[in-house]
């Protein structure tokens, strides 16, 4: 057996973001692609301390966010100093491939399914390649089986006895290619839905009733989306997701399938947005707005008007970010051309810190408006209160359909593996 240590580096949370740590998705999907003679041990540095273990044979570093990469490099440097081979994979490895190579024995680019046998065979034969390049070469989507959630230390993903949602995906790729997004570079410019029966088969294996369906957008193939929701109804899961189609027939099925809340990008104050949010609400689906500040079409007044608008439309939650040029996006292309990227300290590319020169204001002013947006939206009712309301909604639904599970009382005084101090 090869003793493989898989590490998910920590990152600094966004100011204003909740304290919640969700079990990561990339590493569990990757682990499912490992050959049977690999004994994987997983460490999520966001919820547990990393102890360098010299007894491992091979180290894998899985990175999703740009803000993880510098820490990932640090971990790799230390393991390599100790004589261990290190391979990197995951979304931000693909976004920062050239730089990451300098800290790696090998980098893996692309999707893992059906490719890991070769990588581990090369490792065993001491012939690890510097780059495994599968960019744009997507594995057969029907081969994607259930993720290996058994590698997670589940008790670390509880807050005061309440279990966090588990992450799940029903498709890959995205046809939309939105301005700030790197998905088309990472997963291709076409939507690749999993066969419904495969998605359902995986959902049935998840022992958590609450899920986050992390697909980039489910609103890409109406018939597939409706079929998926139809098949999900008997499972009685409760879930949040990115955008879903807002047609009444889709929303009706989504609600029956357990849609709890959806993330919806809100980029203007139009009736289009107002009506879309209303349609979700009319079907009992809450909305968390994702609001990007600092776009080239936004003046200071536009941002203030947008925040007022969010309160008017009775948005359930809002998450504000500032426009951040992640590599391989059109935003990055445009900002680079115009020489508007202030620096390349990737730890600061967390979408909460301004790293560009905005078009209509100074970086400092945009940073102030970012704080203004968070403070104003949550002034009358705090984020905790709004989240509690949202949580109550799902509990009510669960009680109604008999799926409610009490929180774990023995964990009521701990949060993500750490004891909560009494005065907190």
């Amino acid at each position: 057996m090869i003793k493989f240590r898989l590490i998910y580096p920590k990152w600094e949370k966004l100011e204003g973001q909740t304290i919640f740590n969700l079990p990561p998705h990339g590493p569990v999907v990757f682990a499912a692609a490992l050959p049977p003679d690999v004994d994987v041990e997983f460490t999520d540095e966001n919820v547990e301390e990393l102890v360098y273990d010299d007894s491992v044979d091979f180290v894998g570093i899985s990175m999703m966010l740009t803000t993880q990469i510098m820490r990932g490099w640090e971990i790799a440097d230390e393991y390599r100093r100790r004589g261990k081979k290190v391979i990197f994979g995951g979304i931000s490895t693909m976004l920062h491939a050239e730089e990451t190579m300098e800290h790696a024995d090998s980098i893996f680019l692309g999707e893992a399914e059906t490719r890991m046998e070769q990588v581990f065979e090369d490792f065993k034969n001491n012939k690890l390649q510097k780059v495994y390049n599968f960019m744009g070469k997507h594995p057969d989507i029907t081969l994607i089986g259930p993720a290996r959630r058994d590698i997670l230390k589940k008790d670390l993903y509880y807050h005061k006895g309440v279990r966090m949602v588990d992450l799940f995906h029903a498709s890959r790729g995205c046809k939309f290619n939105c301005y700030p997004c790197a998905v088309s570079y990472l997963g291709g410019r076409c939507f690749r839905p999993r066969p419904i029966e495969k998605a359902i088969e995986e959902l049935e294996t998840i022992d958590n009733n609450r899920l986050f369906i992390v697909d980039n957008s489910l609103a890409q193939d109406k018939q597939w989306e409706m079929d998926l929701f139809k098949e999900m109804i008997p499972l009685k899961k409760k879930w949040c997701s990115h955008t879903i189609e807002d047609k009444p027939e889709v929303l009706d099925l989504a609600a029956q399938a357990g849609a709890w809340f959806v993330y919806q990008a809100i980029f203007d104050t139009s009736d289009f947005i107002r009506e879309r949010v209303k349609r979700y609400h009319d079907h009992g689906i809450a909305v968390e707005g994702t609001i990007l500040l600092g776009m080239d079409n936004q003046t200071e007044d536009d941002i203030k008007r947008l925040v007022d608008f969010l309160l008017e439309i009775d948005l359930d939650l809002a998450e504000f970010t500032v426009l951040t040029p992640f590599p391989h996006t059109k935003t990055f292309d445009d900002m680079r051309k115009e020489n508007r990227i202030l620096h390349y300290n990737w730890n600061q590319f967390n979408a909460g810190k301004v790293v560009i020169q905005p078009k209509h204001m100074s970086p400092e002013r945009l940073q102030e408006l970012y704080h203004y947006a968070w403070d104003t939206f949550y002034k009358e009712e705090s984020q905790t209160e709004k989240m509690f309301k949202l949580f109550s909604k799902v509990v009510q639904k669960e009680i109604a359909d008999g799926t409610f599970r009490h929180r774990r009382h023995n964990m009521a005084t701990s949060s993500f593996g750490k004891e909560i101090k009494r005065n907190n």
Partner: protein
């Protein structure tokens, strides 16, 4: 022997970053002693890297394929108007100054061009 061309207007398939199959619009106009290369972004019709993301590699590929002298090309990036109401999808034109290090292009520097400037260059 230099490739004899005065005008090319085609779709161009090239290897993008990490050799991903990519496609752009390509126009080459020879004027005096200079070849003006205009690469147009195709958005959803481009399955791979954007022309901005891999401009140095693209420029090299075009020079190699059409036997163009690395010192006598003027590379222009054209991002067409997508017809979106969002300002960042408006048409843009940039002259990309690329440094030829003897084996490859590197260090792109962008300089915005107006349509009038472009027409003056190639007409």
């Amino acid at each position: 022997m230099a490739y004899k061309l005065d005008y090319v207007d085609t779709f161009y398939d090239f290897k993008g970053l990490w050799d991903t199959p990519s496609r752009c619009g390509l126009k080459i106009v020879r004027k005096d002693d200079v070849c003006y290369i205009i690469a147009t972004e195709l958005f959803t019709d481009n399955p791979g890297s954007s022309i901005t993301d891999c401009n140095a590699k693209l420029a090299q590929s075009v020079c190699d394929e059409f036997n163009l002298s690395h010192e006598k090309v003027y590379f222009i990036e054209h991002v067409p108007d997508k017809g979106s109401k969002l300002v960042f999808y408006e048409e843009s034109l940039y002259h990309i100054k690329l440094h030829w290090n003897g084996t490859k292009f590197e260090n792109p520097q962008w300089e915005k061009l107006s349509k009038e400037q472009l027409h003056a260059l190639i007409s």
